[in-house]
Amino acid sequence: MKTKKILAIGIVAILVCGVGLVVAQAPSKEYVVIKAPLSLEEGENVYHIPQSSIVYHSADGITTVYTSDGKPILKARDSDTTQIPVPAGVSVPATYITQSPSGSRVTYEPFKFHTKDRGLIVTEKATRIYGPDGSLLLTIISEKSKIGKLPYSGLATTKYSGWAEKAYETNADSFIKFVAYWSCPSAPPSPSSDVVDYLFNAFQCYPSGGPVILQPVLEWNYAGSGRWTGAPWWGPDENGEYHRGGPIEISVGDSLEGKIWWEPSPQVYAIQIRNQDTSSTSVIYAGNPGIMEDVFLALEVYNVDDDNDVPGDTDFHSMTFEGDTPIWKGDVDENAPLSGLNVEMVSQPDRVILHTAN
């Protein structure tokens, strides 16, 4: 299945640039050259290692794979290893990318073990990967001091940010009004403190200064608030600045209206979010940035690493348009470390559900 997810020390990485067939060359007796990610499953484009292995990235730039009883079964110099681009926009050595079966979960635990070649290794934080049935699949240990010495400083980025799923119409003429209704979904079940989630309907235009987006946004944990808020946003303006209207309070289950429309007098686009249960409203005006060519519905997330970081399903319904009418298409980012993403066009053009696992 193409949706296969790759756990990479917390990074979910989809391989790009066509990694070639797996070849483990042996330039010396001791070290092998790894050209593909390590994997617990056999297959093309991976370097197979057995279940329960312990992958140890040492400070001297060597990656060693041990059996669970500490016997080394593979050694590789990270500097000789093929670099593989990952979604964070960086390349990391293939020894740092580990594929695990879909449905695996990751924990961080203190760990110590005896090795045949290095003696006792102790760490406060080992990455341990468990299968869906709870069995231990893999343990990964990185000596922290090494990270700085490596030429791959992007390695620190381990969480996903981006538009995880969306519905879009980018092949229409122009729009002048877009109204969408949805209920505030359940909050992320157990999010990290730096997780931020956004849900919105949006217009996008393309004036000579580059694209501009207008969006009434439902915000989870904006600026560390730890709760749902709503605010209209637009930007960038001609100075590159993004604008946020005053926020309104929103609770799970509240009925929301997100509206973007052309106001003929005084010739401006207005962006508004309204909590229909409390009647609180926030509106912001964007001037006249250009002809609204594209429309979107989106779930955008920051710093997520599993399903605990995202809200429940969002049902955008009773949508109305003036100007053109969209025919929604779906888009899902399979790089996101999330299960259950699905864009359901229930009826064109008035109802779309953005599904998550929650």
């Binding site: 193409k2 946003w233 005053g246 989106a298 699905n342």
Partner: protein, 318 residues
Amino acid sequence: MNMDKRVKKRYLVGIVVIIVIGVGIMSALYFHQKGTKFQEKSPQTELQEELASTKALLTVPVGCIHNNFIQLKPGEKKETYYTLYTRNGGPGEVTCKIYRVAHVYEKEKMTMPEGLNVSIEPSKFIAQPNKNYTSKITVKTSPELFPHEVNVSVGGIAGREYTLYLRVIFEGENETIGDDWLRVLVSPFTVPGASGLFLPHGYLHNNSITLKLGETKETYYTLHTGESGPEEVSYDIYRITGKVNMLPMPEEEKLPIPEGLTVSIEPNNFLARTHENYTSKITVKTSPELLPGEYVLCMEAHFGGRLTNDWLTVNVEP
């Protein structure tokens, strides 16, 4: 009085001359516009140009930035990478220059603001044919780059974006398509929408085609890559019931393509760079033994981990 009349006459002549010149200019503009309109490209010409451009993108040296959007807090430093794929180009010297511009697609140099520092390393190297070369781009900001206080409970300016242009010169390779843009958003907090301003998207040139038994017809799919790349593009075409519109498509909605109906897409499985259109040709063939009727096909595009789809209805007439 006579003098006054002469002056008046001169004024009148002057006004007439101005009117004549004005009418002349307006006429010239009018006919120029009409002429321009007459020179607009036909859809067929545009398609041929798109196909030629796609062919070039798959053969000439190309390069692009891995992550074209960086969001960082004032005072933070972040990195991204640029990779050049030389293909048959080289050996030759590659020079990379990076500077600020007004916005994406713009190339005119602007002054770098105080507090924004950008570098690329290596910026000069000799490239050999059929190799990939990766340089690291480092973006450093200082706190004065975003001097605003973001008042979370009131609203206001929440972030400031700068655009950088990377100019890549591959000596002796005039056809290199290697320039790219990097957006840098400076904000104390995340900004919704900004990361998705240039997401990839695609469209079918026709959503339905009608053909008779034994006929072959073609249509096209164009993928605009936006800020995604360098990434592998792959297409999958399968038959669906046409009753449920979900992405990913549930397995139970998929049907076998009947014997006598053949669908192919070319090019497929290729490396794509950022900010380009890639147009592929879809060929639909029917054989006489195919049952006439309506067949709904789902065209699935995989690009850089993103998945999107489009529907093509094939009407087969006896």
